[in-house]
């Protein structure tokens, strides 16, 4: 009978496994992961589909539209987007897993970030096939132009009748037209496509990074004495991690908002807009 020689043991016997620090660490990590997973689950947020890649405004996950119909609606929504920057997303889902349509649409809106971050000009039309419910969810920026009562009427007059007839595409097209008409007639600010000037945040971020880059270049080119390591008391040279935050947050969002609309002939992607729970719900079953 051979005895296993384990390194680190004084008498060559096999030690019980749990004494090893590596095992202990693994157990702690596993326990932590389980606790974390459980705490996330307890929160009870609805599980919503992930953002479409490549970005698309019409997402017929329930298969309620033919591809030709979906394409037609997509074109109209793109035209609306080109005209005034509004990101109107239409999403159908097979079912909502027991959640109310209000909870589900707020969660989806937030996850996908519909609308541009600064304008919050997103609109979501969510259609749940099995429950027979539909809802408009407006971004903060559109609450004035698309009041709840107006969207309620769109639901009652444009959507529900067609859905009841079994022709959702016609209903959606009518709804899109009604909304586009209202947005065109209203005082929507034209998207700042033409605006090439930088906002103060962006300017500050660029200046900051320019200084950092220049500093690094200067430092690396003048190598006198001990290399690289800053003296301990010079800890003040390094900024505390929190400070660049506001710069970067404000600075980098701007350019990304502008470039996503630069691509014509396709939807550039959702910009991280937010909604406050405004909108209207209805149903056809």
């Amino acid at each position: 009978m051979t005895r296993l020689r384990r390194p680190g043991t004084s008498d060559g016997y096999r030690r019980p496994m749990h004494a090893s620090p590596a095992r202990l660490w693994a157990a702690v990590v596993c326990a932590f992961a389980i606790v974390l997973f459980c705490s996330l689950w307890v929160y009870g947020q609805p599980k919503v589909p992930t953002k479409p890649v490549p970005p698309r405004l019409v997402n017929d996950l329930a298969g309620m539209l033919t591809s030709a119909e979906a394409q037609e609606i997509e074109e109209r929504l793109l035209a609306l987007n080109e005209a005034n920057g509004v990101q109107f997303a239409v999403v159908t889902v097979p079912d909502m897993g027991g959640y109310s349509i209000e909870e589900y649409s707020v969660e989806l809106f937030q996850k996908w970030g519909i609308g541009e971050a600064k304008e919050d000009n997103g609109l979501l039309l969510l259609i749940a096939d099995e429950e027979g419910r539909l809802r408009f969810e407006t971004g903060y920026g559109l609450e004035g132009d698309l009041p709840d009562a107006f969207l309620g009427r769109v639901i009652d007059e444009n959507l529900v009748p067609h859905f009841m007839e079994g022709d959702p595409a016609a209903g959606i097209v009518e709804a899109v037209n009604t909304i586009a008409l209202r947005l065109a007639g209203g005082e929507i600010e034209p998207s700042s496509k033409e605006e090439k000037s930088l906002s103060p945040d962006e300017l500050a971020a660029i200046v900051f990074f320019a200084i950092v880059i220049v500093y690094l270049i200067v430092k690396s080119s003048s190598r006198k004495g001990p290399s690289g390591r800053p003296p301990k008391s010079g800890g003040g040279v390094r900024r505390p991690p929190s400070t660049p935050g506001p710069f970067m947050g404000g600075g980098w969002k701007g350019p990304s908002g502008g470039s996503s609309r630069g691509s014509s002939g396709g939807f550039g992607g959702f910009g991280g807009g937010r909604s406050g729970g405004g909108g209207a719900s209805g149903g056809w079953k």
Partner: protein, 188 residues
């Protein structure tokens, strides 16, 4: 000897610097969390104001069809006045519950008047009210999330030390009344 004295001094300064930076960064983080709470609370107030403004229209429209339901109208007026006078978070929570209760009763009354339900302006108002209820729910949830995040931040070590120095205290969440978490519903 001098050299070791110098080294000791440098080490002490370094420790002080690190502690100082740590204090500032934690302090800033607490301030940011607190601002997040304030912003969310302002949004909650905003939505309550919206509902507050909607109620008179609703009451007038209902009165047009159901003039003699005095008790319900009085309940709403009282609850609304109470909400107008609430200052702290618990006071507001209580007043809001009263308003919601009174609204539910009003909408129950509406069930008895089919002509009212068919009225176009009443339908519009109902959509507005439902939308407002939803906004309130979302604003409350976000407020509670920000309060939770803030409370955890100031109570965990080592932030709790800095929090103690700054006099930061845990904030109240917006508690829902049992049974009142369901918004008044109108079915056609």
């Amino acid at each position: 000897m001098k050299k070791s004295g110098l080294v000791a001094l440098v080490i002490v300064l370094a420790i002080v610097a690190v502690l100082g930076i740590g204090f500032v960064s934690v302090s800033n983080s607490i301030i940011r969390s607190e601002e997040e709470v304030n912003v969310s609370w302002a949004e909650v107030q905003n939505q309550f104001q919206r509902r507050y403004d909607l109620i008179p229209n609703l009451v007038e429209t209902v009165k047009g069809y159901a003039a003699h339901e005095e008790e319900v109208f009085t309940a709403i007026a009282d609850a609304r006045a109470k909400l107008g006078g609430a200052q702290t978070v618990p006071e507001t929570a209580e007043a809001v519950n009263a308003v919601e209760g009174a609204l539910s009763r009003l909408l129950l009354v509406v069930e008895n008047y089919p002509e009212l339900k068919a009225d176009a302006s009443f339908r519009d108002l109902t959509y507005e009210l439902t939308g407002t209820e939803n906004r309130i729910a979302v604003a409350r949830q976000r407020y509670n999330t920000s309060v939770q995040s803030y409370n955890v931040k100031i109570r965990t070590f080592p932030n709790s030390i800095v929090a103690g120095m700054r006099g930061a205290v845990p904030k109240d969440m917006f508690e829902a009344q049992t049974g009142a978490s369901v918004a008044p519903e109108v079915k056609f």
